[in-house]
Structure formats: structure tokens, C-alpha cells
């Protein structure tokens, strides 16, 4: 029945089937574009390696002077004192407090916002709210730092709540950092939840599930890998956040046992100590890099754990 016969270079003047297959694919312009793109890709790799090397070299010098065990498990951080000691635990506790408090604020608020936007809000409302939310992520952290120091700590904690706290606290820094992270967690989680096919929600609804059940038991698990990625990004931002903690958490390196105490975080120490007056190769100079390396390793471990967790629990669709 078919009238489509295979063409065999008929006499009809068809150009089909003529010409070699081995024609040059790329024009000169394309080749230039390709080279530029390759360079761009290579540059990012080179820069990353450069950063790692720059962190590693001074750190190695540091660990030649300070035993790694003393650094990781020492409980007194006093790198600039005459009887210097380099136990990083005080810095780590302060970072743990601020990050932990930030996540306690950011995860419920961020996921709540994401669930509302993805599952409950009218599409028009979502179209309006989401860009506003993402705009919040662009507020400079120094503004948040000022807010934490001058309003949350000085006014809310001390005046309104009459809490027993000084000029700085890890609580104020953590709470404000949490507010800062909310848009990140909300926006990425919302993307993940919106990407869950509508047919899943319909299937659930057709079984007589209500919207909350569908959200919690179908959409949420299906979006889990994206949601965890959002939370991990939040943790990474919390661990790495500098300005808020440098301004509001305080500058005294001590093991923090009470969130109303002040404490110096790892990033806070680097920000305060790296003022350019440490001589290259000196122990103070190398200390900065050792702390930086530790931050880098902690972030790496968090990322690794989260990848494993996501693999274990995700419900791929």
C-alpha cells in the first residue's frame, strides 16, 4: 500500500544521498566557541584545585608546629596569647550552636512555606509570593548582622524578654541566620515539590486522601531528595556564614554551653583575625588556613552524608 519506495538516487534530480558523510562538522566560529567553553570549564576546576592547595600548604606548616590531635580536641583556643593554645573545640561549639539554632528556625519555616506555596496556594498567589521570597535571599548578610545585634539581641532579648545575656549571643546570631536561610530552603524545596507529577496527587486524591495526607505521604517523600538538598545547602550556608556571627555572636572563643552566651565561631575567628597584619608563614597566619581547612572538610562531610541519606530514602519517580 505504501508509496514510499526506498530512493536509490533516481533520475529525478534529487540531491538526497549525495555528498560524503565525512564533511567538516564545525565551522571556525564554532571551534572558537568550543575552545572558550572548554577554557571556562577548565578554569573552574583549576581555581577549585588552587583553593585547595592554598588551604593545604599553610595548614601543613601549621600542623608541623601544632599536633593535629591537639588542634581537633583541645578545649582552649588562644592563638594570640603568649602561652598560645590551639584547641579548636570552642570555635566548633559556637559554630554548632549558631548553625543548629538557625536550622531549628529555618527548617520548619522553610518547609512550611514550601508546602504552602506548592500544595495550597492558588497559582496566582504563588507567582507573586515566590519571587518575593527569593528576593529575601538577596539581602546582604551585613544587614542581617546589624539586625541581629541591634534589634534581636539588644531590643528583643534584653529589653522585651529581659533575658540574662550580654551584648552578644549565639542565640541572636543563630535565629537571624535561620531567617536568612528560610528563603533558600523554601525556594529549593518548593521547586522539588512542584516537580512531583500532578498524576501522583490525582492518584492519591482518587483514593480518598485529603490534601494534607497527599502532601505528607506522597508529595513529600517523592520530593525528598530535593528537600534534603535544600536543607544541606542551608546547613552549608549556616556553617559558612560569617558576617552575622562576626557581628552578633561575639568575639570570645569559649566552649558554649548556653545559647545566651557569646561565642566565636570558626568563620567569626577567621573574619576577626584575618586583618592582613599576620606575617605570611607565621603561626597566626597558618592558623587561619587550618581553621579554613577544617570548615572545608566539615562542609564536605555534610555533603557526603546527605548524598548517602538521599540515596537511601528517596522515592524516585
Amino acid at each position: 500500500m505504501s508509496t514510499l519506495a526506498p530512493s536509490r538516487g533516481s533520475a529525478s534530480g534529487s540531491t538526497r544521498g549525495t555528498g560524503s558523510l565525512k564533511t567538516k562538522i564545525s565551522k571556525p566560529g564554532e571551534r572558537v566557541v568550543l575552545i572558550v567553553l572548554r577554557l571556562a570549564a577548565a578554569l573552574t576546576v583549576v581555581i577549585t584545585i588552587g583553593i585547595i592547595v592554598a588551604l593545604l600548604l599553610p595548614s601543613i606548616q601549621f600542623f608541623a608546629e601544632v599536633p593535629i590531635f591537639e588542634f581537633l580536641f583541645g578545649t582552649r583556643w588562644a592563638p594570640r596569647f603568649a602561652d598560645a593554645s590551639f584547641g579548636v573545640i570552642p570555635l566548633v561549639t559556637a559554630t554548632a550552636w549558631t548553625t543548629g539554632i538557625a536550622l531549628l528556625v529555618a527548617i520548619p519555616l522553610g518547609l512550611g512555606a514550601a508546602i504552602f506555596l506548592s500544595e495550597y496556594a492558588h497559582p496566582n498567589l504563588r507567582k507573586t509570593l515566590k519571587p518575593i521570597l527569593e528576593l529575601l535571599a538577596g539581602i546582604p548578610t551585613v544587614v542581617f548582622g546589624l539586625f541581629a545585634l541591634q534589634f534581636v539581641q539588644a531590643v528583643v532579648f534584653k529589653q522585651w524578654l529581659n533575658l540574662d545575656t550580654g551584648a552578644f549571643s549565639v542565640l541572636a546570631a543563630g535565629v537571624v541566620m535561620g531567617v536568612m536561610i528560610v528563603p533558600t530552603i523554601a525556594s529549593i524545596s518548593e521547586d522539588a515539590m512542584s516537580a512531583v507529577p500532578q498524576s501522583m496527587r490525582q492518584g492519591s486524591a482518587a483514593l480518598g486522601a485529603n490534601r494534607m495526607q497527599t502532601t505528607v505521604k506522597v508529595v513529600f517523600p517523592a520530593a525528598l531528595s530535593g528537600i534534603l538538598a535544600a536543607i544541606v545547602l542551608g546547613i552549608s550556608r549556616g556553617v559558612g556564614e560569617t558576617m552575622i556571627v562576626a557581628m552578633a555572636a561575639g568575639g570570645q572563643a569559649q566552649i558554649v554551653t548556653n545559647p545566651l552566651d557569646q561565642g566565636q565561631t570558626m568563620t567569626g575567628f577567621i573574619a576577626n583575625a584575618a586583618l592582613g597584619d599576620s606575617r605570611v608563614g607565621s603561626i597566626e597566619y597558618n592558623t587561619l588556613f587550618a581553621v579554613g581547612l577544617l570548615l572545608f572538610v566539615i562542609t564536605l562531610i555534610i555533603n557526603y552524608i546527605s548524598i548517602r541519606v538521599v540515596r537511601k530514602f528517596r522515592e524516585a519517580y
Binding site: Q202, A205, L207, G208, A209, A222, E315, A316
Partner: protein, 276 residues
């Protein structure tokens, strides 16, 4: 080519003996657009009713109005009466979620949850707060009922996404019957499946008819002829007032009658392949 109804089952009464679900002057709108106009029909208990017709004739829209799935679509609105055992599903005090517990739905594309086979079945009973004496037994019974047990009994904890399309669709049917609905709506359940998988689903439908009432939308006329006790033919007409095309019910009768001796010329044209 003429299609002969294969289940030329003389036992199908002229009228549904027991009307479980009835539509009275049902109109469905999407915003200002009227997708379905003035449908009146009754679905018989423990019968399979097929809704056939060309694309855009409103048959899927009508199907979704039968368990208020249209409520999930922004701007969709249903007018008229849809009654289950005489109770209007669109009454203000009726909870659409309660409606869907009684009237389940199977979709065009298999849509298992991204969970294990076991959890796909257990999801509905858990969500509805059913307390079976043993969930394991319920899952086994349900999968057996859906003719899937032998194929999946050794991989209940594996993801449902590892199943073939036909198995996934039978899993979706199993998931639906796990919550014991009275009626199962099927929206072109075989359109994404090969002929062998299709034939297994059709066998399953005939078995399920013992316990459930089934309404199926299909583009496949042979399928309607093979499985349905009654068939309703819809077509799209110009709406007199707006000029838009809207779905209307042309003819609704025993499947044998529709395929062998249709009363309406449009039905005959459609089933003999002259249009649509």
C-alpha cells in the same frame, strides 16, 4: 468493518436493574467553556458501562465529574445532579473526599506512587484509617484479586516503578480496590499499554464486575464491544448559544444494540469508522 459485541450477553436487561449512579442534566464547565451539556444517564450496579466517542466529546470530563475529580481543576464547575444511591454528590454538605472513597478512579497513564509495591496497596487503607486485622493479608488478597500476586509476590518491597506498564496499571487497579469502593472509574486505562497487557486488564475488568460497578472511557471501540454491558456514545456539537463545541450524549443502550443496531445515524457512522 462491523464490530460485534463479543459479550453478546443476553442477560443484560433492557434497563439497568439497579441504578447505582445517575446523572441528571449534568453540565460541566471549564471557566466559561461548557465541555459537557445536559447529560442524563444511569449506571447499573455490577455492570460495565463504556463511554465512547471522538476526541473532545467530553467523555473524560463527564467521567471525572462522577467522583468530583474535576474539583481539583481550577475553574471547573459541575451543574446538575449526580446521585449515588439517590444522594447528590454535589450537595453542599457532601465532602468530595468522602465521594472519592466510594468511587475510585484509574487513570490513563499508570500512576503508581514512587513507593514499594506493598506500600502502593497499603497506602489507601492507611490513609483512610482502615484497620485490617492484617495488612499483609489485605495486600495479598488485593493483589490476588487484581491478578498480580503471582507476578509480584517475591518483590513486594521493591519499587513499583520496576514493573512493566501493564503491571503498573493492574497495580493501580489493585490500589483502587484495596479501599473497597463501590464504583471504579477508568479513564482510557489501556491507552498506554500493548495488546497483551490490554487483554489482561479487560479480563480483570470482567472479573471485577462481580463486585464492582465499572465505568470506562475508551477510544478503542473494540474494547467497549468486548467488555461493556452498556455503551454510551458521545459526540461534540456546536453549542447554540456560544458557538463553542460541547460534548453531548447521543445514544446510550446495551452494547449489543449500539454496535449492531444503533438508532442514531451518528452512532452508526462512528462505530463503522466513517468519522472520529
Amino acid at each position: 468493518m462491523t464490530i460485534h459485541a463479543m459479550n453478546s450477553n443476553l442477560s443484560v436487561p433492557e434497563q439497568p436493574a439497579q441504578r447505582i449512579l445517575e446523572c441528571e442534566k449534568v453540565n460541566v464547565f471549564y471557566g466559561d467553556y461548557r465541555a459537557v451539556t445536559d447529560v442524563n444517564m444511569a449506571f447499573g450496579q455490577n455492570e460495565i458501562t463504556a463511554l465512547i466517542g471522538p476526541s473532545g466529546c467530553g467523555k473524560s470530563t463527564l467521567l471525572r465529574s462522577l467522583n468530583r475529580m474535576n474539583d481539583l481543576i481550577d475553574g471547573a464547575r459541575t451543574e446538575g445532579l449526580v446521585t449515588l444511591h439517590g444522594e447528590n454528590l454535589y450537595d453542599k454538605e457532601v465532602d468530595p473526599i468522602a465521594v472519592r472513597r466510594r468511587i475510585g478512579m484509574v487513570f490513563q497513564k499508570p500512576n503508581p506512587f514512587p513507593k514499594s509495591i506493598y506500600d502502593n496497596i497499603a497506602y489507601g487503607p492507611r490513609v483512610l484509617g482502615m484497620k485490617p486485622s492484617s495488612m499483609d493479608d489485605l495486600v495479598e488478597e488485593t493483589l490476588t484479586r487484581a491478578a498480580l500476586w503471582d507476578e509480584v509476590k517475591d518483590k513486594l518491597k521493591q519499587s513499583a516503578f520496576g514493573l512493566s506498564g501493564g503491571q503498573q496499571q493492574r497495580l493501580c487497579i489493585a490500589r483502587t480496590i484495596a479501599v473497597q469502593p463501590e464504583i471504579i472509574l477508568m479513564d482510557e486505562p489501556c491507552s498506554a499499554l500493548d495488546p497483551i497487557a490490554t487483554s489482561r486488564i479487560e479480563d480483570l475488568m470482567r472479573e471485577l464486575r462481580e463486585d464492582y460497578t465499572i465505568v470506562i472511557v475508551t477510544h478503542n471501540m473494540q474494547q467497549a464491544a468486548r467488555v461493556a454491558d452498556r455503551t454510551a456514545f458521545f459526540t461534540a456539537l456546536q453549542d447554540e448559544t456560544t458557538g463553542n463545541r460541547t460534548g453531548v450524549l447521543v445514544e446510550y443502550d446495551k452494547t449489543t444494540k449500539i454496535f449492531e443496531d444503533p438508532s442514531d445515524q451518528r452512532t452508526e457512522d462512528y462505530i463503522s469508522g466513517r468519522f472520529g
